[in-house]
Amino acid sequence: MTPTYYLLLSALLFSLGAVGVLVRRNAIVVFMCVELMLNAVNLTLVTFSRMYGELDGQVMAFFVMVVAAAEVVVGLTIIMSIFRTRRSASVDDSNLLKY
C-alpha cells in the first residue's frame, strides 16, 4: 500500500460530494455536500504533505478549515433568512432573489 490510496479515496469522496450538489434539492444538504468536497481536498492536502515531507500541506488544510467555518456560518444564515421569507429550504423555490 502507498499513500496514493488516500488520494484515490479523496477523489471518490470529492466526486460523491459533487454529485450530491447536483442532485439534492434541500439547500442544507447541498451545503453538506460542499463540506464533503472540502474535506476530500483536505485529505489530499494532508497526503501531499506526507508524500512531500513538508508541513505546508497541513497548514493549507488548516486554512481550508478556517475558511470552511466562516463559509458555513454565513451560508447557513443566508439559508435561514431565505427560509424566513419563502418558508422553504428547497433550492428550487428560490428562483427570485429579491422577493
Binding site: T4, L13, M80, S81
Partner: protein, 290 residues
Amino acid sequence: MSLLSLAQDFLAAAQPATPVADTIGTGETVAFWILGPLSLAGALGMLFARNAVHSALWLVLTMLSLGVMYMVQQAPFLGFVQIIVYTGAIMMLFLFVLMLVGRDSSDSIVEVLRGQRLAAAVLGVGFAGLIVGSLAQAFTRVDSVGLAAVNSSGGGNVANIGTALFTKYLFVFELTSALLITAAVGAMVLAYSDKHGKGLKKTQRELVEERFKGDRPGSLPGPGVFATANSVATPALLPDGSVAEESLSALIESTAKERLADDVAEVSGTAHQADAHALTGPAPSKEGDK
C-alpha cells in the same frame, strides 16, 4: 550536455539524496481499509438519505473517519482540529439550523430538469474515473518522503505547524482573522430579525385611537348571550330575538341559520310550548322507544 541529460540531472536533484523510507506498516494498512470504506459509506449515506438529519449524521461518520485518517497520516494536530471543529462545531451548527428550518422538509421527488439526475450520475462517475485514473497513473512511482523526520524535529508536529503559521504564513493568518470577524458580523446582520423594534409593534395608544376612528368603538357582542347554551358556536341574540351577526365566530362556520331557528323561536316567544325535552331535543316517539 544534451537536454535529456539535463532533465535527468534535474530529476535526480529533485529526489532527496538519501531517501527516507516512508514505510506503511500493517497497522496503517488495516486502519485505512477500515476507515476508507467507513468514510465512503458515510458519503453514500449522506447522498441517499431522504431525511436531512440522517444526511448530517452520515456526514459526521465521514468526518470522524477522516479525522482519524489524518492522525494515522502523521498529522495529529489536524486530526484533532478536524474532530473538534468539523464534527463538533460545524456539524452541530448544521443540526441546529436543520432543527430550526426544515427538519421535516424531505427532498422533492419531482425532477425539475428532465434527466438531471442521470446526467449528474454520469458526470460523477466520469469525473471520479478521470481523477482516479490520472492520480493512479501519476503517483504510482512517486516515493513518499514521510513526515517522521519533520515531526521528530523542533518540538513535534504542533510546534512545527505553529512556527510555520507565525513565520511563513503570518500574513495569511492575519487575513483569516479579518475573514472570521467579517463572517461573524455578517451572520449577525443576516440573522437579526427586528420583530420587537420601535415602530413595528403597535402601542396601546395607537390601538385605542385606531378603534375609535373605526366604525365600531365598542366591543363585539360575546357569544351565547341570552341563548340556551354557552358554547362559542351559539350566537348572541338581540332584544328582538334576532341573531346578532357580529357575535358569530368567523372560525366556526358550522352555525347554520337553520340550526339557530329553535333558539330564536324560543327566546322570541313564538315557540310552541316548553316541555321536558326542550334542552335535549324533541321527545322520542313511542315506536323508537324500545
